[in-house]
């Protein structure tokens, strides 16, 4: 029995683990890869954290302006107030933030009225992930690497752990815990083009949804215009802050940075653009296109990271904190992961609920073993991969940057048909150890569930707001200022307006 089980080893999960550990709780962290292999390491944004009252006020107002009336003001105020402290904490933990003299530098990002992003060259995500991992190692977090969470263990209406599959052996075990923090990231693999890592499959969203926790703001899917052509690398918005321009599908430096500045500020961009597209950005513009970058909604949580299920918490991209509203500002993404991770970790760590040893964990594990055994015997591979790729094209075309009622209805129908097809499929091989066919089958199952909640929410919101663009309802409708919640009904997702 763990005090706190964190699922997900990216920035939010690691921050949650470190915070939970600071309360004295025994913390286990379960992740699909080694934590420093998580999607978080690719994020090159800065962290919005202005110093001083004036800076904070403009941070709040820019965030609210981008969010188009759907931000939760209390959450925005609270996280913006905490932001400078969160950055100072990271600095003390060891993130080597760029400085001017000995003061942490802040630069501008698109959409910001003032320079407010703290950053580490073009490797903010990489250094924050490494630093939090170091802190987790130093404070004695117990790691379970290359385990894939399958489902939550529910004792009546309470969450008391999770069942997970070990990639190396195929073993399925119950991880019982007094508190579970989901920090599994976003469902990028449901969209193509996107900035997805292989593991961005929305597993936590699907697990929570299936266990009865409501999701919220799921219609808000944000694209970035800066995906390097032919790759899934999102170029840093800080390039634009440093004077580069985005025009005609190209990022041009326009002489804003000389070679020496580029090599010292953006060494990893330089190297990767050259490796991935053959372009030397010192000489030539980098061709880019838009791609799905992040989901703004997620599991409905309070400021403290509590979901509506007792014992279950969520943080990072899989959490619908209400901070972003209908559109996220560059530089707020990492901020929310860090803030929500810390809050959820502290709450979960302080959670002293008594959980008795019971048989529900082993029962849940046994049920999962039976289901997986059946999946091992069914055909898989190519047809499952085709489902994923069809889903990703469908989501991009009908549920992407531009939507209408007909397209969304078609998408929902096709997703339902795909789910029926998925139910007939499986792993494609009965190998137990390192069965990636089984993993793919499970991931596509999660993506289908999450994709359906996105499409259903987008259909329900008959207006255009933030990143949600309806060609059949091009204007903002002031009467739709409520957030949409999705719960799992008997016949599919049930969408309703959240009670304010």
């Amino acid at each position: 029995m763990h005090d706190v089980l964190v699922i997900g080893g990216g920035i939010a999960g690691l921050r949650a683990a470190v915070a939970a550990r600071s309360t004295g709780a025994a913390v286990a962290l379960l992740s699909q890869s080694h934590p420093t292999r998580s999607y978080s390491v690719t994020v090159q944004d800065g962290i919005n954290a202005p110093d001083g009252t004036e800076g904070r006020d403009s941070h709040v107002s820019d965030t609210m302006a981008a969010g188009a009336g759907l931000n939760v003001p209390m959450v925005v105020n609270s996280i913006c107030r905490d932001a400078p402290v969160l950055v100072e904490e990271l600095d003390r933990m060891g993130v080597p933030f760029n400085r001017v003299g000995s003061v942490i530098d802040r630069v501008g990002a698109p959409g910001s009225s003032q320079p407010r992003s703290a950053y580490v060259n073009d490797i903010t995500g990489l250094t924050v992930t490494q630093t939090l991992f170091e802190q987790a190692i130093g404070t004695g977090v117990q790691f379970f690497e290359e385990w894939i969470a399958l489902s939550l263990i529910m004792d009546r209406d309470e969450c008391v752990g999770a069942v997970a599959l070990q990639l190396a052996t195929g073993a399925v075990e119950a991880f019982e815990a007094r508190a579970v923090v989901l920090a599994t990231g976003g469902p990028r693999r449901a969209f193509e083009p996107s900035t997805a890592s292989l593991h961005c499959n929305g597993g936590g969203l699907a697990m929570a949804y299936r266990a009865g926790a409501p999701l919220i703001d799921m219609e808000f899917v944000q694209y970035t215009p800066m995906v390097l052509s032919g790759s899934r690398l999102a170029l840093s918005p800080l390039l634009l802050g440093a004077g580069a321009v985005l025009e005609d599908g190209n990022v041009r430096l326009n002489g804003a940075l000389d070679d020496a500045q580029l090599e010292s500020r953006f060494p990893d961009t330089l190297l990767r653009v050259e490796a991935l597209s053959g372009v030397d950005i010192r000489k030539d513009p980098a061709p880019v296109h838009s791609g799905m970058a992040r989901l703004l909604g997620g599991i409905d949580v309070t400021t403290q990271g509590e979901t509506s299920v007792l014992g279950l918490y969520a943080a990072g991209e899989c959490a619908g904190t209400g901070f972003h509203g209908a559109q996220a500002l560059d530089g707020n993404f990492l901020l929310v992961s860090i803030a929500s991770g810390k809050n959820a970790g502290l709450t979960a760590g302080a959670h002293t609920r008594r959980v008795d040893e019971s048989k529900v964990g082993e029962q849940a594990a046994e049920a999962a073993r039976t289901a997986l055994d059946a999946a091992l015997g069914r055909p898989g591979g190519a047809p499952v991969a085709a489902l994923r790729s069809d889903l990703a094209s469908l989501m991009h075309e009908k549920v992407g940057q531009s939507r209408d009622a007909n397209g969304l209805k078609e998408a929902i129908q096709r997703i339902q048909a795909m789910r029926e097809e998925h139910a007939q499929l499986g792993a494609g091989s009965n190998t137990r150890d390192f069965n990636f066919g089984l993993v793919q089958y499970l991931e596509v199952g999660s993506l289908l569930d999450v994709a359906e909640t996105i499409a259903a929410s987008a259909l329900e919101r008959t207006e255009s707001r933030g990143v949600h663009r309806r060609t059949d309802h091009p204007d903002l409708d002031t009467s739709q200022g409520g957030r949409l919640q999705v719960t799992k009904g008997r016949d599919g997702p049930h969408v309703s307006t959240e009670n304010a």
């Binding site: 890869s33 998580s38 001017v100 580490v120 292989l198 790759s231 066919g437």
Partner: protein, 321 residues
């Protein structure tokens, strides 16, 4: 472009057993994406790692056509030879299955040894200049290619290796950390910084230009400044290096006899230990009983030592702080 992946699925590196997979992919597709396409559509049991696909997570390191690569940063067109890409595990890394390395044993247990987070020293405000070495070391994706190139790991898998020692460097040069000396002592124990043979292969192999061999050399300087010399934790080695330094600085060259005697514990203990070897060496004319004189110009050599000690006085003070 029609590609045949010859994928090692058994056997040894020297005697590999391959399974062939054909796939039609654009030449600009990365090798990693092409391998994922093979696994997703043809064989879900193909075991290899990888996640981010944009060169940040360091998880997809493999041997392709005999060269060790981060496979998401190279494309199929340039990698293939006559339409074939041979995929094998990287050298030295134990294999769990197919080309799935045992990274815990090869890399993670070693990195984690030095990964314990910053313990704040509550010190002075830190400048950008001071943090540059930390920022450089943290560009490391732990792809493992430096360890793969390491000529010490080739003969001793227990050597911590350049990747883990880059992590040590990251802390040894972090001005915010309060346990620098403790970390350097840990790193100076057996299999640590002093076991590096500075062959510069790590620097050659790093795909991100982080120069891990240089980082190890800089960490050694840091250790010396903290009064920690090569052979830390091993009395015999400590004596050996002290004797070596003393011989050069006093006599201007190596007095092998006295170095050997001191290394093995002084005149009596060392004498007994080295006696059989000494007798054999005398018989073959490889040693002499004549005293070992100061070489001409020894005083000038002495001055080099003096100059070094003066230059490092500041660093030595840091040790006391």
């Amino acid at each position: 472009m029609e590609i045949t992946f010859k994928f090692q699925r058994g056997g040894t590196r020297a005697n590999p057993e391959y399974v062939d997979y054909q796939i039609d992919v654009p030449p600009e597709m990365t090798v990693f994406d092409a391998l994922i396409a093979v696994r997703e559509t043809q064989d879900g049991t193909l075991a290899f790692r990888g996640n981010c696909s944009v060169g940040f997570c360091g998880d997809c390191t493999l041997s392709v056509n005999g060269a060790q690569k981060v496979t998401c940063l190279i494309n199929v067109g340039k990698t293939q030879k006559e339409g074939v890409i041979t995929v094998q595990p990287i050298r030295y890394a134990p294999v769990e299955k197919d080309v799935m390395h045992n990274m815990r044993k090869f890399l993670w247990d070693k990195v984690d040894t030095f990964a314990r987070g910053v313990v704040p020293n509550g010190g002075h405000p830190v400048t950008d200049e001071e943090l540059r070495p930390v920022r450089k070391a943290m560009r490391c994706t732990t792809c493992g290619l430096c360890d793969e190139g390491c000529t010490v790991i080739d003969v001793n898998l227990d050597f911590y290796g350049p990747a883990a020692l880059t992590k040590l460097y990251r802390f040894a040069f972090d001005p915010r950390d309060g346990i620098t000396a403790e970390r350097l002592r840990e790193g100076s124990e057996i299999h640590g910084i002093w076991d590096c043979v500075h062959c510069w292969e790590a620097t050659e192999h790093c795909p991100f230009g982080l120069e891990p061999t240089h980082l190890i050399m800089d960490t050694r300087d840091r250790a010396i400044a903290h009064g920690i010399k090569s052979g830390y934790g091993n009395k015999m080695l400590e004596r050996h290096y002290d004797a070596f330094e003393e011989s050069i600085s006093r006599k201007g060259w190596l007095d092998e006899r006295s170095v050997a005697l001191q290394t093995y514990g002084g005149l009596i203990k060392g004498g007994l230990h080295t006696l059989p070897l000494g007798i054999r060496a005398l018989r073959k004319g490889k040693a002499t009983l004549k005293p070992h004189y100061k070489r001409p110009g020894a005083d000038r050599i002495r001055k080099i030592f003096d100059r070094y000690n003066r230059a490092n006085a500041g660093l030595r003070k840091e040790k006391q702080r």
